[in-house]
């Protein structure tokens, strides 16, 4: 029987391979699937690019080192990874609180934009919704992701999207509606998962 390629495996199957000889291929695939979400959520809650990069590194090393603690019968990989990310982000948030000090002539060193009155718990709690939305967007296929990106993040009208992409207006509208339907479904699943991890 031909061995399965990493990109054909589920997240949970990839996790089971982190303790074996295919560790790099498995971790590489998990990274491809989730690093944007971890990084994006890091940017959202930490407000600092270098800390977000540190978050990505620490999270994926922790995924590898702690892979034996992952139990797919208790939570999906995405939910488990969110919890790992959340834990590491809290640590980094606390570190930042005392490591990012004002430095003379160093505006490049002070990148935080968060309201300092918010504590780490409150800030990180926002991250679950960010995580779910990011994952819902990640699972859209490219054409659907594109229309959402252009409509929501770039603020283009449906007609402008049609002109920009060369896709007929009717198709743009149906893709936008379809993308929203998919997001709605994914976020509904996320709500269920949220209850599961409480």
């Amino acid at each position: 029987m031909m061995p399965q390629r990493a990109d054909e495996l589920s997240d949970e199957q990839l996790m089971s391979r982190l303790g074996g000889p295919e560790v790099e291929a498995a971790l590489s695939k998990l990274y491809d699937r989730y690093s944007r979400t971890v990084y994006g959520v890091g940017l959202k809650i930490l407000g600092d690019r270098s800390l977000s990069e540190e978050l990505v590194q620490d999270v994926f090393l922790k995924v590898w080192r702690s892979s034996s603690t992952f139990n797919p019968s208790r939570a999906s990989f995405s939910t488990w990874l969110y919890m790992v990310t959340r834990s590491v982000a809290i640590d980094l948030y606390r570190k930042r609180a005392h490591r990012v000090h004002q430095i003379p002539d160093g505006e490049t060193h002070v990148l935080t934009t968060r309201d300092p009155s918010e504590g780490p718990q409150e800030v990180v709690d926002e991250s679950w919704l960010s995580w779910r939305v990011s994952r819902a967007l990640e699972v859209l296929d490219v054409p659907h992701k594109e229309v959402i990106h252009l409509a929501y993040f770039e603020g283009l009208s449906q007609r402008e999207i049609s002109e920009r992409t060369g896709v007929p207006l009717g198709t743009v509208k149906s893709r936008t509606a379809s993308a929203f339907k998919s997001l709605r479904g994914e976020l509904a699943v996320g709500d269920t998962l949220q209850e599961a991890i409480r």
Binding site: V23, E24, L27, Y31, S35, R36, T37, V38, Y39, G40, V41, L43, D48, R49, S50, L51, E53, E54, Q57, D58, F60, L61, K62, R65, T69, R94, K95, R96, A97, H98, R99, V100, H101, I103, P104, D105, G106, T108, H109, P120, E126, S130, V133, S134, L137, A151, Y152, F153, G155, S157, Q158, R159, G170, K173, T176, A177, F180, L183, R184, L187
Partner: protein, 250 residues
């Protein structure tokens, strides 16, 4: 207009992406159609959720290689793999990411320089290969008054060497340095008035000499006081108040 004709436009309406005349038609229909108003509310929930979306951004491409290199190295030498729940791992993983980013500090990660960079800990190991430059400053580290009574019998110096990258390497040589309290570690700071730059953290054992290598960004050259504080793992949101050693750059 019938519901079936309105539905394809509802999502675009929520996103504000319809032409003015199309939007007006949708509004007229909504005014008289409870079913479509319900659908609109559901779509608005999704639109509202999108506000929580992280900014669409990819992490730097080198990150993946660094992580896989680290995994490869630890897989080859399992003894270097840390207990995931331990302080050692926290410091090590932090150290690793910072260490690996050194080459990119100026280009990609200027703010990382404000944080601690590298902490390498040895016990009685001679780091000859890292001594290619003579120190530009040797700082005597002395116990501060409040800690002096409990920290007899050790001495410490910090040697500073400029690096080609612009960073400064700090080598701490500490003798018989007290082991930190349980769940605590030491952190080296460069201090100027109320401002501090962390140079990284380390632990210790009470017997023998330890050598610790750290790197700080070029800005640290304007910070003339060195402090080694004891930090509790659960309270690292604030600089530790328990100062173990202090030194002044001549």
């Amino acid at each position: 207009m019938k519901c079936a004709e309105i539905h394809p436009n509802l999502t675009a309406f929520v996103l504000g992406g319809l032409e003015p005349e199309e939007a007006a038609e949708v509004r007229r229909h909504l005014a008289s159609c409870p079913s479509c108003r319900n659908e609109l509310r559901e779509l608005q929930k999704v639109s509202h959720a999108l506000e929580a979306a992280p900014p669409p951004a990819d992490p730097p491409s080198y990150l993946k290689d660094e992580i896989l290199s680290r995994v490869r190295a630890e897989a080859l030498y399992p003894s270097t793999k840390a207990d995931s729940s331990s302080l050692v791992e926290r410091r090590r993983s932090s150290k690793t990411s910072r260490f690996n980013r050194l080459k990119d500090l100026r280009i990609v990660l200027p703010s990382a320089a404000a944080a601690a960079v590298v902490a390498m800990i040895t016990l009685g190991v001679f780091f000859g290969f890292m001594r290619e430059e003579p120190p530009v400053a040797t700082i005597q580290l002395v116990p501060t008054p409040q800690e002096a009574a409990a920290l007899n019998g050790y001495w410490g110096v910090a040697e500073i060497r400029p690096q080609p990258s612009g960073n400064q390497q700090v080598e701490l040589k500490l003798n018989n340095f007290e082991e930190p309290k349980p769940n605590s570690y030491y952190e080296l700071w460069f201090v100027s008035g109320e401002k501090r730059i962390s140079a990284g953290s380390f632990t210790s054992v009470s017997q023998g000499e330890i050598r610790v290598l750290l790197n700080v960004p070029p800005e640290a050259s304007n910070y003339h006081t060195l402090l080694i504080t004891e930090q509790h793992i659960d309270n690292d949101s604030a600089p530790g108040e328990e100062v173990a050693l202090k030194g002044e750059v001549p």
